[in-house]
């Protein structure tokens, strides 16, 4: 495969803007963390304000905790109409957030109508199945490290 080491392909930074990677936040509880995730997606121009309610509604039906200290808040099917542009945000809460008994350190917020974010989520799944890389993501203090971890493997489709 290619030996080029561009850590941030244009497609990745288009979906996950550097200003949408916020690594030193605190949240008083799960709802607060989801509201902050919604606010970051709103600032990224990804959603209209009603999407945050769809995120909270989704969380009430099924938790978006995916393991390894990571949750991926996103809206419901009906909330898709509130998505303006597909985008992701990464919010890190170094002190942790109680997520129904799970300790969440990183929220990856998702707003998507299309499928452009699938490679990135697939890479996130790969990172979370590798305990060392999952720990690196939980401890990340620079956006360049977040980009490095979430850059899809070129051997994937």
């Amino acid at each position: 495969m290619s030996n080029e080491t561009d850590p941030t392909p244009a497609s990745l930074s288009a979906l996950l803007a550097e200003t949408s990677i916020r690594l030193d936040l605190t949240a008083s509880n799960k709802e607060d963390a989801i509201r902050q995730t919604g606010a970051a997606l709103l600032e990224a121009g990804a959603i209209d304000a009603s999407y945050t309610n769809a995120m909270l509604e989704r969380e009430r039906s099924v938790s978006t905790f995916v393991g390894e200290g990571v949750a991926i808040p996103h809206g419901t099917l009906s909330g898709k109409d509130s998505v303006i542009n597909d985008a992701l945000v990464v919010l890190r809460f170094p002190d942790g957030v109680d997520w129904d008994g799970n300790d969440v350190r990183v929220c990856v917020g998702i707003a998507a109508r299309g499928n452009g974010h699938i490679a990135l989520l697939s890479q996130l799944a790969t990172v979370l199945l590798d305990p060392d890389r999952a720990a690196a993501l939980r401890a990340a203090t620079t956006s360049s490290l977040v980009y490095e971890l979430l850059t899809p493997d070129p051997e994937d489709e």
Partner: protein
């Protein structure tokens, strides 16, 4: 519950509410694990699971809705999006062409 032949699974659907996040992550993981076994893995909202699926994985909280959408397709509920034991067991059965209960 029925006994299912792992080698008969050709189309596996991971269903969640929006088909936007969690199901995408599990589907991409399963796609890699089952690529050699000729299994097509897709993600879908529970309300639009294709009726030609051979097997559906969905979160416990959505299992009833999934069964309502595709009453004739076995639905396997799971709790954890990554590393769920029920999912791991079936993946292994499909990889080895063994039978499993669902």
């Amino acid at each position: 519950m029925a006994t299912i032949d792992g080698s008969s699974i050709k189309k596996l659907i991971v269903a969640c509410d929006a088909g936007m996040g969690s199901s995408v992550m599990l589907a991409s993981t399963l796609k890699k694990q089952l690529a050699k076994n000729g299994v097509t893995v897709e993600h879908s909202p529970v309300a639009s699971i294709p009726s030609d699926a051979d097997l559906v994985f969905t979160h416990t909280g959505l299992a009833d809705r999934a069964r309502h959408t595709v009453p004739d397709v076995p639905v396997v509920p799971f709790q954890l999006f990554l590393g769920d034991p029920a999912v791991a067991k079936i993946v292994k059965a499909i990889q080895n062409g063994e039978t499993f209960e669902a």
